[in-house]
Symmetry: C2
Subunit: 283 residues, 2 copies
DNA sequence: CGAATCCATACCTGTAGGGTATCAATTCCG
DNA sequence: CGGAATTGATACCCTACAGGTATGGATTCG
């Protein structure tokens, strides 16, 4: 398999349109058609069914799209990790304000370890952490399960919190001791890029979300630790039957650096629920 | 990252010699040198330290070798799986005579499942099963832990057996009710390709091993179920403090075919220790 | 039925990947 | 100690193939 052909195929398979795919790849359409034909001939399998009006994936195409994307990601990740291999430092990816004040403790704990190295903390947008990790640009990431995807990653659980409702102070439920999910049935819950629209507004970052809540346009269910960083015009109310969010530290299962192991160890030690640990990966 | 460059690098990194690597790749040495230089320039990292007499890997090179091999394997596996995606059948890889008579039961159980498809059983050499699985040539494999490597694979445990000593009938220990590991301290235990030599003979397949045992040249510790297929000039003796071997059915964690799931299910159901199951991967 | 859309075909061009010849630096060994 | 052998780098050429342009054929849409 050649990575160029595969890259081209993935583009077509995702766009389901040769012209758009070619533009996205920065080449003309004819060479793209040719390359896909070559690939199909080489594999001896039809990947796409083209009516001269539209393109659809065959079963084989579905498989190749799914597996091919992973393989290509592994390829670029290999390069990235090699680039950063000389640099002894670690990169930790996280979203702003999701740590429940844990980050400082983790870093302090890590600093005490003899294997400690410099840690660059990279604050990314929603859903970026996993990408950074899988692409080899970050060594570890703080993720929230089940909101974020830990598929194919190793992780350790750090902290589990109940979700609370974040409301404007003027909201009808703002003064309640606690509420239930059914109390929120009339509200427009937001959704993130990547997850399916649910009628509510699309939010890209925390600040935007808080703004929308403040305007009464939406209401959010967030881990209890948001309380510590909340704007003064917002408040939180416990939701008795809400889901819980688990903060985990995740890393590539392929990584095997001494300092990364120490960072994970430090994170587990620094977290309040420092129970027995078990590495896991989701299937 | 380009797969061609990476393939070339892996060859050089494994051979630690540009000439040999070029031969292995079927190209001349100068273009190989050039390509590696290009790769290093592109990544901005030195991968190899060349004294004009020998080649050694840098830290970055080590990382790229390790991760690059995985990425390339994923690449070819993606192609293979796509090739076989149209074919609804499954390929099950295993070693001869390692199944403890379980294979028939598994296939019978599977045949009863509505999602059953044709199963091609591929009997491979020692250590090949994992390779077939990882390269996408097989959908599932019967492996013996801890002798074989389940790294990066998902698996379900089927059967755990104690190891027994396989001896010639004329052996001094052949008539004992049971023995201990210390009784075998004077014996030359064999080793397999891939594992480090230990002074004993190198064996490539079961028939060869049995022959060597019959000649009194070695003695083997094998799972108890070998008894069923043993030559008449050999016998087995329980070893009270021997390790146990666990037969597992393994598959690629990336696979998500209905029929494969049914096969795994059938294997678990057919195995005697049909307890609660838990998918695992080793780190 | 013409216009628009979309993939395939035909043909041309430039470059990058590959080959040969050779050099420079070590190492080996008589 | 000096010549032979080994090994990676350099210089140069050549061809195959990736990519571009123009255009055709088929389908859909208004």
């Amino acid at each position: 398999m050649d990575s160029r052909e595969l890259t081209y195929f993935v583009a077509v398979a995702e766009e389901l349109n040769f012209g758009r795919a070619a533009t996205r790849l920065g080449i003309a359409q004819p060479p793209l058609s040719r390359t896909i034909q070559q690939l199909e001939r080489r594999l001896g399998v039809t990947l796409l069914t083209r009516t001269s009006r539209s393109v659809a994936l065959t079963a084989a195409g579905e498989v190749l799209l799914y597996e091919g994307k992973r393989a290509l990601a592994a390829l670029t990740a290999a390069g990235r990790r090699a680039q950063r291999a000389g640099d002894p430092g670690l990169v930790l990816a996280m979203k702003a304000n999701i740590d429940g004040d844990l980050l400082e403790k983790i870093l302090a704990q890590f600093a005490a370890d003899p294997a400690a190295v410099e840690v660059e903390v990279r604050i990314g947008g929603i859903g970026e952490q996993g990408v950074l990790l899988r692409s080899g640009e970050a060594d570890a990431a703080l993720l929230r399960l089940p909101h974020e995807d830990a598929d194919g990653l190793a992780y350790e659980e750090l902290l589990t919190e109940p979700d609370v409702a974040v409301l404007p102070r003027t909201h009808r439920l703002a003064d309640r001791e606690s509420i239930t999910m059914s109390d929120l049935s009339g509200e427009q819950l937001p959704y993130w890029p990547g997850s399916p629209p649910n009628g509510g507004p699309l939010v890209r970052d925390a600040a935007q979300l808080m703004q929308l809540i403040s305007l009464g346009r939406t209401v959010a269910l967030l881990p209890a630790s948001v309380r510590h960083h909340l704007r003064t015009d917002l408040t939180t109310v416990p939701v008795t039957d809400a889901a819980t969010t688990t903060l985990v530290i995740a890393w590539s299962p392929d990584a095997r650096s001494r300092s990364l192991a120490a960072l994970v160890q430090a994170a587990v030690t620094a977290s309040p629920s420092a129970g027995p640990h078990r590495s896991t990966r989701t299937a």
